[in-house]
Amino acid sequence: MIEVKDLGLVYKEAGSGRPNPVIQNLSLSVEAGESVAIIGPSGCGKSSLLYILSGLLRPSSGNARIAEQEVTKPRQDVALMLQESGLLPWKSVWDNATLGSRKNKAERRERLQEAFEELGIAGMEARYPSQISGGEKRRVSLARALAQEVKVILMDEPLAALDTLTKEATQNLILTLWKRHSFTLVLVTHDIEEALFLGQRVLIFAPRPTHVVTTVENPKMGEVSYRQSQEFFDRVQQVRGLLQT
């Protein structure tokens, strides 16, 4: 589904204009319907990779392909979820959820109403983002993706600002939706437990210029019993160790 080959990204430093390599020779692939978590030090280029995959940033070298097409611009079948939920404060919940949609009005309404009901936010359509909670904002972002029937959801630390209980509830929700709708999920996070709960594979990224250091296979992801097991805590320690080295 997603193929990244020899990807490189070089920023020009503000002021001096000196080249600053952020990503170097990064290659990875994600199967259709797979859930992959990416974890790495701050500023290593994880978010830049998501921007490239969502067509907002052009790589300096190499290429990224989704569904066998090179990504050169934003696609209707790919959704990007940002840390602060990415809702525009001046648009109502409904208008936020329909932002950028190219479906016809009737189809859009039907799909979105289904998504709102599935996510438990029906009745909030006329509210503004400042009138709903952090968890509800994430649900609106997810509703936008579901109504668009996207094939890929890219998440850039979408749960970072949430309290523990809301975060766990939203993680469970993401997992349920992923199983039900079979989209491909790429999750960038700083939270090792979140990465191990939601990622079938966890990719550990190196500091700048980033590349994949190693991949941790995580076949038991999403099982509640696994999250409370010794095996899970051992794996958390393993990933922590890899990040520290």
Binding site: P74, V78, G86, W90, L99, S101, R127, S130
Partner: protein
């Protein structure tokens, strides 16, 4: 909004009371008939109100003239400054290359150009209004342009990213993100610009090439009245203040309507 209107009403009452107090104080302090000139410098609000009632037709025409020039100029300035400011603030190349140009022109005092503009347009009565409106636009436009440019530049990048990633076309980013996100700053700047506009309209109305114009404006009325007709000066000042206040309330009403997302939810205690 109702609470705000009540606030305006109370402020006007307070202002009238202060005015009456100063006027009464002068009457009390200068009881000698020789000092009557000083007492006349601050007439009581009731004296001015009586003058306004007696001269309502003449004052009304001048008020219409001033309102026409001021409102037309502000609408024209907004129509020019909003698209240009949003573009310069958002488009990378424009921000880089046009911002220094805008900032270079901004500090030049535009008021000094009034004689030049007046002489350039001095062809007929109709073009005098064009000259005045051009001058007011020149004064107001740059104030609006700089604020709108800055507001567009300061829109959080996350909002633009969200809209682009959702599939909003780059040119529609302006209507979906840049304009609505800049609106609160536009209204804030509009309030400041209104004060500048009133100043500019007054300056422009003190000059007329063709005798005593009927709709010359309140600036002309004050200029013509001079120190010989103090009550007339105050009546025109009250009319300008009423015009300004009405426009401020209108701007506030528009802001509450167009930026209603800002006013929803709980108001925090400050």
């Amino acid at each position: 909004m109702i609470k705000n209107l009540l606030g305006y009403l109370l402020s006007v009452i307070l202002l009238l009371l202060i005015w009456q107090g100063v006027s009464s104080l002068l009457v009390y302090a200068y009881q000698d008939p020789q000092d009557a000139r000083i007492v006349r410098l601050v007439p009581s609000p009731l004296t001015v109100l009586a003058f306004m009632i007696n001269h309502w037709e003449e004052l009304g025409k001048h008020l219409l003239g001033t309102s026409f020039r001021l409102i037309t100029s502000i609408i024209l300035s907004l129509a020019l400054a909003i698209p240009l400011g949003l573009y310069i603030g958002h488009a990378n190349w424009a921000r880089r290359y046009l911002t220094p140009f805008v900032y270079s022109i901004y500090p030049i005092p535009k008021v000094v150009f009034w004689p030049v503009i007046f002489l350039l347009f001095q062809i007929g009565q109709a073009t005098e209004d064009i000259a005045k409106i051009t001058f007011i636009v020149l004064v107001v436009f740059f104030q609006l342009l700089v604020s709108i440019r800055d507001a567009a530049e300061n829109i959080p990048k996350e909002y633009v990213v969200t809209a682009l990633a959702a599939g909003v076309k780059p040119f529609r980013i302006y209507t979906n993100v840049i304009l609505p996100g800049s609106l609160p700053a536009i209204f804030s700047s509009l309030r400041v610009s209104l004060g500048l506009g009133i100043f500019a309209v007054y300056v422009s109305e003190t000059t007329f090439a063709f005798g005593t114009p009927e709709y010359g404006g309140l600036g002309w009325f004050i200029f013509k009245s001079g120190i010989l007709n103090i009550n007339g000066d105050y009546a025109a000042i009250v009319a300008i203040a009423a015009l300004g206040l009405t426009l401020y309330v209108l701007i506030e009403f528009l802001e509450h309507w167009l930026c209603r997302w800002k006013y929803v939810g709980h108001e925090i205690q400050r």
